[in-house]
């Protein structure tokens, strides 16, 4: 894959192969990620798509331009300069989730990177900014209402300090939503995304022996990655702005999901599970940090009514299909 250093476009100041000189474009950050690829493939028929990612994106559609660059670099602004005036939207999915990376890297990539993109949007008069956050910013908590609305406090990092940068990014984009009324900012907070993705809930459901907490069986919500992509496309409509929880096809107890997937459950008493998981994490034997346990202990469910009413979003896949999608890993996902 050609890197950005080999500038093939020097002779084409106003475009890339596949994107016409006046064609409207959308920018997708994190385009080479599992979700970014799906979004890119969904969008490229309607718009010229410019992906920004430091990772390569092999086998991408021919008309998708990839700028392989770190979003924090000053040179990233060149992308906005090049397409200035015809950028219809920025989809910001380039968020670092790797819990093994140090906090400094998380803050730098997520918060500094996002702020940079927001500043570009102002400078180059992008009319739409769609940010993919997560319902995890609310955090699992025994005092949570059954269905949290978008107005609920973001206490996700209360028991899970490692994700405080993600909460900070959500807050940063929320304040941007109010500071910049001329830009239609959309924040999407989907529930646990499953499908051909790598994230904590999918990795958990892909385990062969699934540990659970003895005596706890919270109701959970999951959503298919394609449904999330669909919601992002719906949010791109002009005039739509605000914060939206995205819910999938319904809610079931964790045990029902594991039962449906035919998993062997290993119940562990929670006073034991915490030190055990902390030990495994410190020994680098697991990808799950200890605070994730709260997600299989308490509820963190959201009310998706706003997305239904304002976005017109409805998850297309049934509950059963969504559950099975978690382990029917496509070619993009990690092997079991």
């Amino acid at each position: 894959m050609a890197g950005p250093e080999q500038d093939e476009r020097s002779g084409q100041p106003n475009g890339t192969p596949g994107i016409g000189p006046d064609e409207p474009v959308v920018i997708v950050t994190g385009a080479a990620g599992n979700l970014g690829r799906r979004l890119t493939r969904r969008l490229h028929r309607d718009y010229g798509v410019v992906g920004i990612d430091r990772r390569p994106f092999p086998n991408r559609p021919k008309d998708v331009a990839l700028e392989q660059i770190d979003i924090r670099r000053n040179r990233a602004e060149n992308v906005f300069r090049r397409y200035a005036g015809r950028i219809k939207a920025v989809f910001h999915t380039g968020i670092l989730h790797d819990m093994r990376k140090p906090a400094s890297e998380h803050y730098s990539f997520n918060l500094v990177g996002t702020t940079q993109v927001l500043n570009f949007c102002v400078r180059y008069k992008v009319p739409k900014f769609v940010f993919l956050s997560s319902a995890n910013v609310y955090g699992p908590h025994p005092h949570n209402a059954q269905f949290l609305t978008e107005d609920a406090p973001l206490r996700g990092s209360e028991g899970f300090p490692m994700i405080r940068d993600l909460v900070a990014v959500d807050h940063a984009v929320s304040s941007f939503l109010w500071k910049r009324p001329e830009i239609d900012t959309v924040i999407l907070r989907p529930v646990h995304i499953v499908g051909a993705v790598k994230n904590a809930p999918s990795n958990y459901l892909r385990l062969r022996y699934v540990p659970t907490l003895l005596g706890f069986d919270p109701m959970v919500q999951i959503i298919h990655v394609e449904d999330v992509v669909e919601a992002m496309v719906l949010s791109a409509r002009p005039g739509v702005r605000g914060i939206f929880n995205l819910t999938g096809p319904g809610e079931v107890p964790l045990s029902a999901i594991l039962k449906e997937l035919g998993k062997v459950r290993v119940p562990v008493p929670h006073p034991l599970a915490k030190p055990l998981l902390r030990f495994l994490w410190n020994s680098r034997l697991t990808t799950f940090p200890e605070p994730e346990l709260d997600h299989i202990r308490f509820i963190c469910m959201v009310d998706g009514a706003r997305a239904r009413e304002v976005l017109g979003f409805e998850a297309k896949r049934s509950l059963r299909d969504t559950i099975h999608a978690a382990v029917e890993a496509g070619p993009l996902a990690v092997p079991r």
């Binding site: 025994p142 319904g250 070619p331």
Partner: protein, 335 residues
């Protein structure tokens, strides 16, 4: 809309109309036919029915024959999804199992007698407002069971449990499987907007922990239920429970001891703590439950407390009247 959550999406719908051109064709293990309906018991992991699972099946069968012969649970209108759960985690199979001991306690231990169950509207949002007594919240359980066993058609009533229950192993999900919700106003509103019935004890811990010298004296009522009733136009059915006071007559309430062990109260009854935990066993009193005519109120839900107090007092007076009637009709505490 909350009902929408439980409605399974149409599997035959063209779900892939928005799918990408799929340059990387997914291996298609998408099952062509829907799998067989999930087995009744979802608590035990593993694919094959375990010994426990089979035992559970036998118990279920027996319950179906003995405890719930006319399948009243099926007549409950709470919508559940393809896995048998509603959005709060209610599940009929869990309730069915719990009915085994519950029905025995209801019919043979407390020999509950109900009056006026038909006054509870068969459908639509409704508050059941009752007096609270007896140290252990068995009055709540008996009201729920009376709506299930002695009302035609049966109606599911939800109660609100303390928030800390969500942190106690097993109770953390069992209360939800049995249809109860965590006591947060948002949850109460959600349930009422789903046109369901909810049982509230406005006296709260003041009522249930009071000593026996104040038996059948209604304590101070909270106002929260009235604000919700005015906001959402919820009719209020007053309910009086006669008998529960005598199941555990408290001579004193050692709140200091309760504070130390983290309990809301520490009652001293003739048998507790004298006989240890066994002393907590409620006495086999006879329960009588009286349902009053539904009451409706109009007004601004954000009125000052004083204005709301008048309306709450009207409900309180109605419950007091039902209590007096029940006490007058009662000939003996135990039968």
């Amino acid at each position: 809309m909350p009902a929408d959550r439980s409605v399974p999406a149409d599997r035959s719908a063209p779900a892939d109309r928005s799918a990408p051109p799929a340059p990387t064709p997914r291996p298609a293990p998408r099952r062509s036919a829907p799998p067989p309906p999930p087995p009744r018991d979802v608590r035990f992991g593993g694919g094959r029915p375990s010994l426990l699972g089979r035992l559970g099946g036998l118990v279920d069968e027996w319950i179906a024959r003995r405890v719930d012969p006319d399948d009243r649970l099926k007549q409950i209108q709470t919508p559940t999804n393809e896995f048998g759960f509603d959005s709060f985690g209610f599940n009929r199979d869990f309730v069915r199992r719990a009915l085994l001991p519950a029905r025995w306690i209801y019919r043979h231990y407390f020999r509950v007698q109900c009056f006026g169950t038909e006054k509870v509207p068969p459908v639509g949002r409704v508050f059941l407002i009752a007096n609270h007594s007896g140290q252990l919240p068995l009055d709540a359980a008996m009201i729920l069971l009376s709506m299930l066993f002695d009302k035609q058609p049966p109606r599911m009533v939800r109660t609100m449990v303390e928030r800390w229950v969500a942190q106690i192993p097993f109770f953390s999900y069992l209360f939800a499987r049995w249809g109860q919700i965590v006591g947060i106003p948002d949850n109460c509103r959600e349930v009422l907007e789903n046109e369901e019935a909810i049982l509230v004890f406005p006296e709260g811990v003041r009522g249930i922990s009071k000593t026996f010298d104040r038996a059948y004296e209604l304590q101070e009522f909270g106002l929260g239920f009235m604000r919700l009733a005015l906001e959402l136009g919820v009719p209020i059915v007053p309910v009086a429970v006669v008998g529960a006071e005598e199941q555990a007559p408290a001579l004193a309430n050692l709140t200091r001891v309760g504070d130390i062990i983290g309990a809301p109260a520490f009652p001293v009854t003739p048998t507790f703590p004298l006989l240890g935990p066994l002393g907590l066993l409620p006495y086999p009193v006879k329960y009588r439950i009286y349902y009053g005519e539904p009451m409706r109120f109009d007004g601004d839900p954000n009125d000052e407390d004083d204005t709301l107090q008048e309306k709450v007092d009207a409900v309180k007076a109605e419950i007091q009247a039902l209590l007096q009637r029940g006490l007058a009709e009662r000939e003996h505490i135990f039968w």
